[in-house]
Amino acid sequence: MSERSERADRHSNVANAADGGGRVNPDVNLDTVKRAADTPDERQPYAELGMKRDEYDRVKEILGRRPTSSELAIYSVMWSEHCSYKSSKVHLRQFGTKAPQSDALLVGMGENAGVVDIGDGWAATFKIESHNHPSYVEPHQGAATGVGGIVRDIMSMGARPIAVMDALRFGGADQADTRRVLPGVVEGISHYGNCLGLPNIGGEVVFDPCYIGNPLVNALCVGLLRKDQIKLAIAPGAGNKVVLFGALTGPDGIGGASVLASATFEDESQAKRPSVQVGDPFMEKLLIECCLELYQADVVVGIQDLGAAGVSCATTELAAKGTGGMDVRLDLVPLRDPSLRPEEILMSESQERMMAVVAPDDIDAFMAICAKWDIPATVIGEVTDSGRLVMTWHGETIVDIPPGTAADEGPVYERPFHEPAGQAALNASSPADLPRPEDLRAALLQLLGSPNLASKEWVTSQYDRYVRGNTVLAQPADAGVLRISEAMPGAEETTRGIALATDGNGRYARLDPYAGAQLALAEAYRNVAVTGAVPLAVTNCLNFGSPEDPEVMWQFSEAVRGLADACKTLGVPVTGGNVSFYNQTGSTPIHPTPVVGVLGVIEDVAKRVRSGFTGTGEKVVLLGE
């Protein structure tokens, strides 16, 4: 190895970190670039990794040879539906093309999270993301790591996370599996969010039998930052160091991104089920405080959280958006399980990890801050201007690719779609045809007793809504409201606050996905507006069945069109979000469920409006039609 990488060796505060020599290293099977060139016809398990034949052929074309197994790992996760948005991209473009002009938008779609200007020099960043499949497999850990993941997205924008919300969908309240899934999911969100010290300021709990085999766990996080201190996932400047920091890498959710996120829960896929990811909220809390101190000290050039595709995603995306190249010594990645192979390190979904790009002169300061917070940190590579992402394993080159081809130039599909067979009949059946209830009292009691209308206190009382002392409104209000003057040092002068709401209705969307998505936006928009806040920006989590099913794809395209049109009409931009496909049991998809989050700003947070009557003698006025 070069002298450069030997210097990297010394830049680690991790006890027992791989030193390049001390690890068991059965390298007889190591698939190097050289070996790949020499064995062009070796059979590779691209199909098992969820790749189609033509996708695999394209990789070969890009590289001019077969990929090494490590390269295959990278392309398979990066080109998975989950990471590449290959089925949704062509539709999501409308959010950009139809977007209203908005001066408030500082960072739009495509980054880890959108950022909006909230005035007085401050900005808010927010995003909602799904963790549906993992929450079905292991409700507690699945939901917990869903919160952890979205919080890291917000941190990576340079912000302090200040609150979370959760939009949940379960099967029928009386169905047996709901008893397993619901308490675990709520406990997971509660434990992780409470441990991080993030108030939970709202969300939804909806029951419908269509979610029995596929619950929805959508978590939202909002963060605050100075407008001039936005961080991006970029790696400019040849010679800058690449630092991996946070938890050690273990065999968590290996293959999860491609296998878990793009397969259904049919029996044969159960056998392939990778080990679940387990979260450590304590580590994440330290990581939050550590990152904020790193930003304060101004020692971070670019930063990226490690999400579903772990090291593969962070290295390819950082390199693609920077000077263009990166050298990484994969054997320097500190491991929890020393037997991990390079392919597994690349695909590991271990939680609570971040990757930063740091100028060489700032490395010592960076490491000192990590040490203060007891955060393991290791220099694993360096930015180059080679235009290639090159990874070595004990001196052997195992990855040599143009990073953009993995990060940005994945496949794009124009999937066929058509209206579902029964759609017209479904719409023809009108509530007007139903018999009128004879006993209104019984009907009312039935409504009041229905789980969807009942109090959600069993859930919300498990969430800390007071921590950090900035919660102005939370449950039972329809929108959460936070003051910002005390949320971060330096904000004392502002009187502003932010309001957030999430809404969605799968039954409306099933009947008419175009209108259903618009109704979800309208409801969240109203909920924010009634607190006294001006709605500014939208995030969304689009939960649908398989994109390979043309009827689902129709629902999806209609919902996106509806949401984009409504955003245009209301004058609020979509700043980011998440698409979750393959939400189905066997071939039966869930109701199409777009969940929409709206963020608004209130100029004087002391003037927020509560819901509910506050005194006798007040006049009651009905607005609208």
């Binding site: 909220p281 007891d374 009382s461 498990q462």
Partner: protein, 227 residues
């Protein structure tokens, strides 16, 4: 006259330190940040151990924190009479450090509970509760998963007889605590621990729908200014 200085301790995983510091400032005191790894009390006049999940609450709440370098200074100082208030995780740490009798266990309902809780003030003979009146009913938020106070029968009888029960839950016990105990003090009275959160009940705009927490901070500041 310089403001009374109240130390606010931060362990890895402490969450309510900024709320505690804010509450001290609102009452007119100076909040002095104390870091778990520095064995230095910085000459403060009193110490607030705030809530959170120090060390992730792994093993047992407060079990690891009590060995922090700062605690090596704090424990003898508290034994010698330094006023110390621990809320939630701070209460757990005080019990683990044996500065207060008994222990805090998993809630009887086995769930984390966040709610606005009725509480009766049972004892005002502490530097943290002198601005209350005995028998006063107040509302403070509780938010914890492990707040069930337990002690062996002899200890329980002794703290009841000695006036060491400072707060009791009213209107429903959120966690199954013995004798509805929400907070206790040591024999000398300078150390108080409670599960509820006074620092989340000091402002009209935010936090719980009460400002009953203010009296904790006005009590200690009066005491410090007058001595």
């Amino acid at each position: 006259m310089s403001a009374a200085r109240v130390g606010v301790v931060t362990f890895p995983g402490t969450l309510d330190d900024q709320d505690a510091a804010r509450a001290v400032r609102h009452a007119g005191g100076e909040a002095v940040p104390l870091w778990h790894a520095d064995p230095d009390l910085k000459g403060v006049d009193a110490v607030f151990l705030p809530g959170g999940f120090s060390y992730g609450d792994y093993l047992r709440c407060g079990a690891i924190s009590r060995f922090a370098p700062l605690m090596e200074e704090l424990i003898p100082a508290a034994r010698a009479g330094l006023p110390v208030l621990g809320t939630c995780n701070g209460f757990q740490i005080l019990c683990e450090a044996h500065l207060l009798p008994g222990a805090l266990m998993r809630n009887a309902g086995l769930h984390y509970v966040c709610r606005d809780q009725g509480i009766r003030v049972e004892n005002t003979a502490t530097p943290w509760t002198s601005d209350f009146t005995e028998g006063q009913e107040i509302v403070l938020p509780v938010k914890h998963g492990e707040g069930r106070y337990v002690a062996d029968p002899a200890t329980l009888a002794a703290i009841e007889a000695g006036g060491q029960v400072v707060f009791r839950y009213t209107g429903g016990n959120p966690n199954g605590s013995l004798n509805d105990i929400a907070g206790i003090r040591n024999e000398a009275g300078n150390i108080v621990g409670l599960m509820p959160h006074p620092e989340h009940a000091v402002e009209d705009l935010t936090g719980a729908p009460s400002t009953d927490g203010r009296a904790f901070f006005t009590s200690i500041l009066k005491k410090l200014v007058n001595t």
